[in-house]
Subunit: 371 residues, 2 copies
């Protein structure tokens, strides 16, 4: 279903390669642009393609509730529906149910919840989550799980993780025999407990998923704990399969996680911070809300070759932001996605040149973790 | 300052030509894209240029309050500030003060008002309105006037109109000798009274403005009254100078007004309705809020060759609108501005071919005034 060609492994363990599913390919380490509701916020699909985006992530929970899976199935799947010809991935919606939807009941069968849009009642099971993702038709789909937040009690974490791992078996069974050739990834949970992470990784990697995700990190815990658990968990995953760190993160988080051999990332930050008036740069963040940019006619990021930085001044962009103009969100989102995609290119180049340690150290020192 | 080449006049009196100011030219009848705060809402300047926009309108009232004229002067004027290399026009802000700002006092000297942004107190006079527009540096600037709303008392209308006409003299005096070579347009007021319109037109056209605007129409009065007053006023303006009908209108309004020999239009509708989920077409409006488009996988407007209609379905665009995605506002604004600009091209072609009567009749019948 999925072909993962690891073309080079750097002395740090960082790997550069290429994933191919159903004829669509993307280079790793990869950043997945987040199109929760079938649109990467503020950008067009053409802009994403021009920026070099190779794969986008949509969310089964959101699309199931609105516009509904039947419409997207009729359109030919999420790619044709949003007119995105490159690779696609859908998250199963487990995380979104627990973060957005008023919960009614969790049983062994599945999760009963209320829609955050209209309050209607729904039951999602591992089987229906896979069925929904079959209809949405993304190239890669995700197992349905129950993440735990931070902080969490060990007993509850153990219970949720064990249930998620049992659901993973049912997801795989529901997917086996599907004609779609979609790839299915399992998700390791285990909260903030190394032992539970080890147990979950053991159970999930016993199952023949096409790739393995680390879930339930970067949900509010201290940053050092995130990376400690990642460093603990990543080596437990099979080296020859893609490793996906879900929902991470800032550029510096991605730079660090690649050191643990992670191949895929997704994060809302480049577009969310863009809408919020903030630009990432190689030297840290620029917050245009800061009055110091009021009269600054210099480019947004002098070190950037994107269309926005070639065109507009900080003062103009700040004015647009302060005035509530959509062009502010567009411009900053565009710049930020450009920065993320260039970062991934530079990460891949550094890995291939066996100089990833130096690249990562320089990035983390220069940005001081601020970007 | 301004060269107006009327290249052809159709039997209806509709004229096609070209206005050149400071080396920047635009074809007439022209639609000015509205960039109130130095951005045409939801669109980039590159998109506007690609769509064929030749001239944009910004607002002195808004830009004076935010970001302030000094910044824009330092940037080289409104064109360089927003990186728009083609023609520009600023409205003086008279209309905006009276529609947006809490009023403190109107005297012969000028208007004292509070900022709608922060409540700060400001005095604008004909002289300062011209000085602000000199700093903003648009190719065409507008006299500072006091419009009247609908309905209005004859006595108040007479008073406001006479004062506006006296202010017009002071605007012209403040502009004479300016080194900028900006063109200055006078504005005929007179409310909804033919006699007052005649008086105002007489006084304004005695002054040597570069062009003449009809102000104070399309502010809530019945549509037939708008066109009756326009048909009354337009012939009172000098035939060899541009005629500008401010703030008008729907496509069908523009089609009708061209019959009165109007050369310039501006309107927020294409972008405002775009943000509000509505697309103009040659056959009327499409309101994507309507549930009938829920499952409609056909193009937004099958009769349109814009990028949006070539790419996205009604169902997808409706989904984006319902989901609050910025891409909905972007897509519909883009399509609507495209429609307006193609309409203006077709208007100019029809005039040059002496078939404007037929063109206008067909448009008005087909759209039933709905677009």
């Amino acid at each position: 279903m999925l072909h993962f060609d690891i073309e080079h492994t750097d002395p740090t363990g960082a790997r550069a390669g290429r994933i191919t599913v159903r004829g669509r390919a993307f280079d790793t380490p990869a950043f997945l642009a987040v199109a929760t509701q079938a649109s990467v916020k503020a950008l067009t699909q053409q802009e994403l393609a021009d920026l070099g985006t190779q794969v986008v992530l949509a969310n089964a929970y959101h699309l199931y509730l609105r516009p509904g899976v039947e419409l997207i199935r009729r359109a030919g799947g999420i790619g044709p529906f949003m007119q995105w010809p490159r690779a696609t991935l859908t998250d199963s919606g487990g995380y979104q149910i627990f973060s957005l939807a008023p919960l009614i009941e969790i049983t062994e069968e599945g999760v009963c919840f209320r829609s955050h849009i209209d309050g209607s009642e729904h039951l999602l099971t591992p089987e229906s989550a896979i069925e929904i993702q079959h209809a949405l038709g993304a190239d890669i789909i995700m197992a349905f799980d129950q993440p735990v937040g931070h902080p969490s009690q060990r007993e509850q974490t153990a219970e949720a993780t064990a249930r998620s791992d049992r659901w993973a078996v049912r997801c795989l069974e529901a997917h086996q025999g599907a004609a779609s050739k979609q790839a299915l990834f399992g998700i390791v949970q285990g909260g903030f407990d190394r032992e539970l992470r080890t147990e979950s990784a053991g159970r999930i990697t016993e199952l023949s998923f096409d790739g393995y995700a680390v879930g339930g990190l970067s949900v509010g815990e201290p940053k050092e704990l995130t990376f400690e658990l990642l460093a603990h968990t990543a080596p437990l995953l099979p080296a020859q399969r893609p490793r996906y760190l879900m929902g991470v993160g800032k550029p510096s988080d991605i730079v660090r996680a690649v050191l643990s051999g992670v191949d895929m990332f997704d994060c809302v930050l480049p577009t969310r911070l863009g809408r919020n008036g903030t630009a990432y740069t190689k030297a840290g963040k620029i917050n245009l809300k800061n009055a110091r940019y009021q009269d600054d006619l210099g480019p947004l990021d002098p070190d950037c070759d994107c269309q926005v930085c070639a065109t507009h001044s900080r003062a103009y962009l700040r004015h647009l932001y302060k005035s509530g103009e959509i062009l502010a969100a567009r411009s900053l989102s565009y710049h930020n996605v450009h920065l993320y995609l260039r970062l991934m290119e530079h990460i891949r180049e550094a890995i291939r040149a066996d100089r990833y340690r130096g690249f990562a150290t320089a990035w983390l020192e220069r940005t001081n973790g601020n970007s």
